[in-house]
């Protein structure tokens, strides 16, 4: 607060406000970041929480001024940062469209022209004359997005507000954004890497306010993932089963955690299950760094019966073709009883698996398909 007063006095007296020295307790929220974008390009800003993404976005939007360096933007800037800005709960959807539109910089004429399109997009025609305080939170943001989505800026700033509404509406939001991207320059902040990979042409990785890299999406995403510590091994279950010597072998029977795309993988482990279980099932699942399950190997699915005598045995699981997208994954191993109900052992994050390859797809799994083209 005192710094605030100090800054104000300096500004008023036109003293040099270019603070190149930090006062005690201050830090650079964004430092040494520079990039250039043209129409049709989209840059993704990624980084852990507090790395300066939102601050950078606010500076691009002109809300915060840089204390050193300079930002140059040509054209109208639109920000999809706050949905439903200025909405008043007592007023109807119709009135709020006008208010929100004015705040976003539409003229009255523009709003009138787009009004029907906005209502149609929000799918709230039946409730447009209801005060928005009676809206559900989903309806509220839908209306907000519908107005914001009808901006026609030259530079579009998007913060992670996109995941709004139900599945259907979210899909619609993405289509709308992709449509907008054709005509403008986009700066996109998200923690959802598949979206970044899909939408962006460049990725800027930020950490503690510093730009780690500006590169193509696949490198940027890899670097982003490497900023986080590995998922810790967590063991749960009844404790009636034990696994030892879990190892991953590549095509040359070498123990490793790095595999080439489409290479084969053999998972081997020694298992000991308590004697009172005659049979057991094993499920091996793969997940992304953000714990989304994406692939599974289940012994029951492959009609394998694993019998148990209470003695130690070695299980090997061979996957012919590992068609996971290049990236970092984690493997979980779960041992069930025969009925598939009881978890005898649950190893969460049992192994890290790194897939390498030249190809970077948008989805986690590539099917190995047979392609043909018949010339007419």
């Amino acid at each position: 607060m005192l710094y605030g007063v100090e800054d104000i006095i300096k500004n008023v007296l036109s003293l040099d406000a270019k603070e190149t020295n930090l006062r005690p307790g201050e830090f650079w929220a964004v430092d040494g970041v520079s990039f250039e974008l043209r129409r049709g390009e989209c840059i993704g800003l990624i980084g852990p929480n507090g790395s300066g993404k939102s601050t950078l976005l606010k500076m691009l939007n002109g809300i915060l001024m840089p204390d050193r360096g300079s930002i140059e933007i040509k054209g109208r800037v639109g920000a999809l940062i706050e949905l439903g800005a200025g909405f008043h709960p007592m007023l109807t959807g119709r009135e709020n469209i006008y208010i929100n539109g004015s705040i976003l910089g539409f003229s009255k004429k523009e709003i009138e022209q787009k009004f029907d399109a906005i209502v149609a997009f929000s799918e709230l025609a039946d409730f447009i004359d209801t005060p928005v305080k009676h809206y559900s939170s989903g309806m509220y943001v839908r209306l907000g997005f519908a107005v914001a989505a009808h901006m026609e800026p030259d530079v579009l700033l998007i913060d992670e507000v996109l995941a709004v509404g139900d599945v259907g509406f979210r899909a619609k939001c993405y289509v709308k954004i992709a449509e907008k991207m054709k005509n403008c320059t986009v700066v996109f902040v998200s923690h959802h890497m598949p979206q970044i990979a899909k939408l962006c042409t460049k990725v800027l990785v930020l950490d503690h306010g510093n730009a780690l890299s500006i590169s193509d999406p696949s490198h940027g995403i890899e670097q982003y993932n490497s900023l986080f510590p590995d998922t810790q091994l967590t063991i749960a279950g009844t404790g009636d089963a034990h696994i030892e010597n879990l190892r991953l072998l590549n095509a040359h029977n070498m123990a490793t955690d790095t595999f080439m795309y489409t290479e084969g993988m053999c998972i081997m482990f020694d298992v000991q299950v308590a004697g009172n279980y005659e049979e057991f099932l094993v499920s091996i699942t793969f997940m992304t760094a953000d714990t989304n399950l994406i692939a599974q190997c289940h012994s029951k699915y492959n009609n394998t019966i694993l019998t148990n005598s209470g003695k130690r045995s070695t299980v090997s699981v061979t996957i012919q073709n590992l068609t996971l997208n290049p990236g970092t994954y984690y493997m979980n191993v779960i041992i069930f009883d025969k009925s598939n109900m009881k978890h005898l052992l649950w190893m969460f994050g049992a192994r890290k698996v790194i897939i390498k390859g030249d190809f970077q797809g948008g989805a986690p799994i590539q099917f190995n398909a047979v392609w043909k083209q018949i010339q007419q």
Binding site: V5, G62, L64, M65, D67, E72, I103
Partner: protein, 288 residues
Amino acid sequence: MQTPVTEQNSRIRIYEPNYIKKTGIRAWSDMVNELIEYRELIWRLIVRDISARYRQSVLGVLWSFLTPLFIMGIFVVVKNNKIIPIGDTTLPYPAYVFIGQMVWLLFSQGLTSAANSLISSESLLAKINFPKEVLILSALGQTIFDFIIRIPLLIIIFFWVGFVPKPAIIFVPVIIIPLLFLIFGLGLLVAMFNAIIRDIGSVLLIVLSVAMFASPVIYPPPTAWPLNFWINYVNPVSGFLIAAQDLSAKGYISDPAGYFYAVIFSLVTVLVGWRIFHLVEPKIAERI
């Protein structure tokens, strides 16, 4: 459909430290143009707040009548029972108090709502880029609306006391226009400081509640030195109060010098306040 890239749309913005280098006329034309560009938003926000205020209230606009009526009632009783000796006023006392209240409330309510306008739109300020003067002007707009809807009640009161005001009363709205500048100028300053140091708002409330008694609202302007100097001249609102009362009662402004001084003071305030606000504007979102 893409909007055609017009001259204004394709302008280049540069954000860098100490970006406000312009001085003099160019800076002022920028400041005024910015507000003209956003006039629609100001209007929208005024309409929003007024319609929201009355949407769920039974008494609706009657609420705007209650404060001045209540004060008028109390002081009519106080005067009639000679609890406090109040000298003779140029207008019948109820009308005198009410017209004084109209002008005073314009000032005090305008200033209070301006002081809170930035804080109550905190999330907007932190996320969306627009000239922040817009919020102060929209707060001012609401108070002007209150002033206007009190006019019919004033007419009723004139009927009730059986006094026909001089025709010059229709110029009262014109002569208080400089008062609006004063409110805007002071409003910008208190809003700005209140955004950073919340205590300012509380101090303002105390000052305003006392200041009414330091203005010729419920008593006639003092004539004896030194009280007349402090109340009629040092208090910048008094010039407008006295002028409004004079126009209704006498049809002319009895103390043009006092009014002129108040106008000058208001214009200086708005120039200084607006300029300071504009210089500090980029820091507000950072510090609020």
